[in-house]
């Protein structure tokens, strides 16, 4: 009977997801008494309410239910689901604790309490409750949960930690009593001893734990690693050799381990050199001979790695041998796409142009004549990449560099021909794509060297053409996206980002590709992106430790600590931090026509300053390896290569980590300061303004002068506000004039007017000269959407501070001077808005043309080039249109502002 009434609600909630219907069904059931049926209905009602977005109401239903201390498992599980969605994890503990108190003999309820603590990452409590579970219900698994919780309580890398000492002792006993009986439970011993760096004992254990390793290679791999860590290099060398010879000669970790042990022995005793050199070389050569019909790269690269390590140790005489080995490696493996990557680390030994040239000449000769096209292309690509990596390209005189690029383009054309006879799958990436990428990197380099944007346009055209052949070439798309961004083609860049289908974890690792804050003008796109980032992180907050619980239950002890660390790494994500700060600022812009609206919005959001303590913990989860390039050492580009030094203001990649953190702090401070102003929190405002000034000083050091002026203007807006608030207090409290404050106010206002004049003439000059480019656009976007918008908002506060004078004869207007200055400033702002708006409307929006920007090279005779120019023009128009919209709104709001 009851089930018949509950089932339709379940169906509505979890099958058809018709939450309104579910709620209606719940409300239609009248329960006369409190029992598990009435509680189920209430719990389901909470689910429906929460799903309908009424979170507070859902919580209040659950809290009401909580007071009845339900014990029914279905009720508890349903409540748990909703509490999880609401982020109220402590309430879950509460409901299970009270249920468990009612039913002390129930394993389900006590385990529920334990789970609730793991979910909250409280391992002291999870230890306590696994102990209770163990005592009450027995079972080896609770004992292991107890130990795992104890290990999780210890801080990583702390020798002598009490928790670790106790777990070690307990595990010793367990092992002897055969309570440790699987690979996964053995991982508890591994964790305990590794945390204490007790590798010797772990090695002893490993011999006794052979039976837990079902795959012998796995056991030997782990043993060799431990021997390495325990600095028992002789034995390590033996085990690694065994792995290479008898298991896998192509596994790089075996080879690296082997050589590392050898090099360590060499450092102990230099006489060992010839012995080791001969021993390892004989080993590798034997393996090379063994793999003649289908050669594996391992043994060949191993020999090169050996040369490399020995040269690093000062054996410069081996360089000749390395040269021979490099040449023969390319000869043998030059037909494989990863050949140049394989050897790229060794090419840095050839940093003198002459020796690089000699090496390259020798390598070039390995290209056999009359090769079939399909065989020739990868070889040619490898040669170009090696030549670039050897730094034989970037320093060429411009004309020769242009010839090189031409060669790359020709080879690309040639490589495309193979698809005339051999059909290319649509999803396949064209073989010549890396030629385009390399050509574009060279064009970017030329563009910077000659300060000529037309090379960027050429690169863009090349990439667009390439994408016609490789529809899904994500490497091409990424570079194209970065190049579009750099020249202000923001719309096409964002379209490319969408094509990449960045979702879930990729949001955390790849959003930086479009996160240059100056483009946050595309508020809809970014609003959506920030929401997705937030949703992904919510999944982490609510789900990751659920899987830690599953790992406990499943006995996957190797994974539990990993999940805990992973959750933390995501919680401290830099991407998340930037996203939150920028999201708040962009939301603020939506409420920036009325100070009252803004007050409501900020009071709801309760902005918080991201402090040093917060930024110190930030984790850089960004994946920069996706920005593929073959640059030689010392050559970088902000387009596709994360620079680690200051370069320009807008480029995310050009900032150092420190700068990015300062930037996050600076941006987070602005909403806080606004709220200080609105709420007239004088003390906070003073301290936060000081902080703002310091941060701006640090962040904008390398900015162009005009941008520094704009930031100065922003700071002074808040300083004026602070002084005016002081004046307001004086009037309200009938206090004496603070003459110092008055002087300061007048002075700042005068100065602010001057700053605004400078900015105005700069922006107008840029626009009138029709020199619209990325940086001009960035300046006008920034100034109009931030400092100028802030000014128009703050005016609304200011007029409240300077009430109209009472027009009585003989009564002097004590604020006359301030009023005049304020009026001047306000009029200037108004006239500036009118002027900018006029220029944009009359001269630009309809006929933006960036052709001039790319001067020389635009020939407009190529279809793709025309398409690209049209795309960029369209993107500029859209931006200008939204600037105009913003300026119109500001003008309208200022009309109402009268002093």
């Amino acid at each position: 009977m009851e089930e018949r009434r509950v089932q339709p609600i379940w169906d509505a909630l979890f099958q058809s997801r018709n939450y309104k219907l579910a709620l209606k069904l719940c409300n239609g059931i009248v329960c006369k008494k409190v029992d598990s049926f009435s509680q189920t209905i209430m719990a389901l009602k909470a689910v429906a309410t929460e799903k309908l977005g009424k979170q507070e109401e859902a919580e209040s239903i659950l809290d009401q239910l909580c007071s009845q201390s339900p014990t029914d498992p279905t009720v508890l599980n349903t409540m748990q689901t909703t509490y999880k969605s609401l982020g109220k994890l402590d309430k879950i503990t509460q409901i299970f604790e009270s249920a468990s108190a009612k039913l002390p003999k129930s394993e389900f309820h006590l385990e529920g309490v334990w789970q609730s603590y793991v979910r909250r990452g409280d391992f002291a409590k999870s230890k306590e409750f696994s102990l209770k579970l163990m005592k009450q219900f027995g079972g080896a698994k609770y004992h292991l949960w107890y130990i795992q919780s104890m290990i999780l309580q210890a801080k990583p890398g702390q020798k002598g930690d009490l928790q670790l000492t106790i777990s070690e002792k307990t595990l010793d006993k367990d092992f002897n009593e055969s309570k440790i009986d699987s690979y996964e439970s053995f991982q508890l011993i591994v964790q305990t001893l590794e945390s204490q760096e007790n590798y010797e004992k772990l090695l002893d254990y490993l011999d006794k734990a052979e039976k837990f390793f079902k795959v012998e290679e796995e056991r030997l791999k782990y043993k060799s690693l431990l021997l390495q860590k325990a600095k028992r290099f002789e034995e390590g060398l033996e085990v690694f050799e065994n792995l290479i010879v008898n298991f896998n000669a192509d596994d790089w970790s075996h080879i690296c381990g082997y050589l590392d042990c050898g090099m360590n022995l060499l450092r102990r005793d230099s006489n060992w050199f010839s012995q080791f050199d001969e021993r390892s070389r004989t080993l590798f050569r034997k393996l090379q001979e063994k793999s003649t019909d289908k050669p594996i790269r391992g043994p060949f690269l191993a020999e090169l790695e050996l040369d490399h390590l020995l040269i690093n140790e000062g054996k410069r005489e081996l360089k000749e041998r390395m040269t021979d080995n490099l040449v023969s490696f390319v000869k043998r493996f030059g037909n494989r796409t990863m050949c140049s990557g394989d050897i790229s680390a060794y090419l840095k030994h050839y940093n003198q142009t002459e020796e690089a040239k000699i090496l390259f000449e020798k390598i070039s000769k390995t290209l056999p004549h009359d090769l079939a096209e399909k065989e020739r292309i990868p070889r040619i690509i490898n040669l170009f990449q090696i030549q670039t990596k050897l730094n034989l390209v970037h320093n060429l005189p411009s004309e020769q560099l242009r010839d090189f690029i031409k060669q790359l383009k020709n080879e690309y054309q040639r490589s495309s021909k193979i698809y005339e006879t051999e059909k290319k799958e649509e999803t396949e990436i064209a073989v010549g794509d890396s030629l385009i990428l390399l050509a574009c990197h060279c064009l970017v380099h030329l563009s910077r060297r000659e300060n000529n944007q037309s090379y960027i346009l050429e690169a863009i055209v090349l990439l667009e053409d390439g994408l016609k052949m490789s529809k899904h070439g994500f490497q091409l798309k990424i570079l194209l996206l970065r190049l579009y961004l750099q020249i202000g083609g923001i719309k096409p860049a964002l379209d490319l980002f969408e094509e990449l289908q960045v979702k879930h974890i990729l949001l955390d690792s790849l959003s930086y590709l479009v996160m240059d804050e100056s483009i946050s003008l595309y508020s809809n796109f970014f609003h959506h992106l920030y929401m997705e980032i937030e949703a992904f992180h919510l999944e982490n907050t609510t789900q990751t430790l659920e899987y830690a619980i599953k790992a406990f239950q499943n006995g996957s002890y190797s994974k539990i600590r990993e999940f805990v660390e992973f959750k933390k790494r995501l919680d401290q994500s830099q991407t998340l931090s930037i996203s939150r700060v920028e999201h708040l600022l962009s939301e603020m812009k939506k409420n920036d026509n009325s100070i009252l609206e803004l007050e409501g919005f900020l009071a709801f959001k309760n902005p918080r300053f991201v402090s040093d303590e917060d930024t110190d913990k930030l984790r850089e989860n960004e994946d920069y390896t996706i920005l593929l390039n073959w640059n030689p050492e010392g050559i970088t580009s902000p387009f596709y290569d994360p620079l680690r030094k200051s370069f320009t203001s807008a480029n995310f990649l050009s900032r150092t980590q420190q700068e990015r953190r300062q930037w996050i702090k600076l941006r987070s401070l602005i909403p806080v300061i606004f709220l200080d102003c609105i709420k007239n929190r004088a003390d906070n405002l003073g301290a936060n303004l000081d902080q703002l000034r310091v941060l701006i000083g640090q962040v904008t050091t390398d900015f162009p002068q005009i941008q520094q002026t704009m930031w100065q203007f922003a700071v002074d807006l808040f300083r004026i506000t602070k002084s005016l608030l002081r004046v307001k207090d004086e009037i309200e409290r009938n206090e004496d004039h603070d003459q110092h404050n008055r002087n300061h106010l007048v002075e700042t206002l005068e100065n602010e007017t001057k700053l605004l004049q400078t900015i105005q003439s700069h922006l107008v000059g840029n626009l009138k000269g029709k020199l619209l480019n990325r940086s001009n656009l960035e300046e006008i976007v920034f100034f109009t959407s931030e400092p100028l918008s802030w000014a128009s908002l703050l005016f609304q506060l200011w007029i409240k501070c300077v009430p109209s004078p009472k027009k009585k004869k003989g009564v002097e207007d004590v604020l006359q001077e301030e009023r005049v200055k304020l009026k001047n400033f306000l009029n200037l702002v108004k006239s500036m808005i009118t002027e900018l708006n006029g220029i944009i409307s009359n001269e630009f929006i309809k006929n933006v043309d960036v052709t001039e920007y790319f001067s020389e090279s635009v020939q407009n005779n190529k279809i793709t080039e025309k398409e690209v120019i049209t795309k960029i023009n369209l993107s500029y128009s859209t931006i200008l249109l939204s600037i105009k919209k913003n300026l119109d709104a500001k003008a309208a709001s200022l009309k109402l502002t009268k002093l």
Binding site: G298, L301, D342, K503, A551, S556
Partner: protein, 174 residues
């Protein structure tokens, strides 16, 4: 990009899968999907890494089935574009078969592949897999799948791979 190191997939690898997952044929799942596999079958999730720390590809799988249908299943196998055609897929499959045989003691390994994916079908045949049955509309009702299998030593008589004479519907799968 150099040589390969094969090892267990760990959570931190999720920050480095872009080079593999941006490929149009590789799906990026929600976090829970990966974590569930790591929590339940940690030894079935293997990744290949080059010495620069760049991920080359990964395989994820699980053990499932009752009685004589207890087997290893390949959930996803993917290799980044620049590391294709160097035998990495074969190595991954070898590891998964090893795990299915030695750790989980299964009777066979199976996988689903798109009916139209001729390249993949050919590759799996090369690895010793045969078509066990055709599943109608397996991919969102839009495309059929082949269920391909390879018997492990435990299935002495190779009963698990005897092809079914007729195609089946997804509802008939166990």
């Amino acid at each position: 990009s150099k040589m390969t190191t094969l090892r267990r997939f760990v959570c931190d690898d999720l920050f480095k899968i872009a080079n593999i997952n941006l490929d149009v044929l590789t799906e990026t799942y929600n976090l829970g999907f990966y974590l569930q596999y790591m929590a339940k079958w940690p030894d079935y999730f293997t990744v290949a890494e080059d010495p620069n720390g760049i991920l080359m590809g990964y395989i994820m799988g699980k053990a499932e089935g009752e009685g004589e249908r207890w087997h290893g299943h390949v959930t996803a196998l993917t290799v980044a574009p620049e590391y294709r055609k160097i035998g990495l897929a074969g190595k991954f499959m070898g590891i998964l078969e090893d795990v299915s045989e030695k750790i989980y003691d299964g009777y066979f390994v199976d996988l689903y592949v798109r009916y139209s994916n001729v390249v993949a079908i050919g590759m799996y045949k090369k690895f010793g897999y045969t078509i066990y049955r055709q599943v109608i509309g397996y991919y969102s009702g839009e495309e059929d799948a082949y269920d391909m299998r390879k018997a492990l030593p435990r299935d002495v008589e190779k009963k698990s791979v005897i092809p079914l004479p007729h195609p089946v519907y997804p509802s008939e799968l166990d």
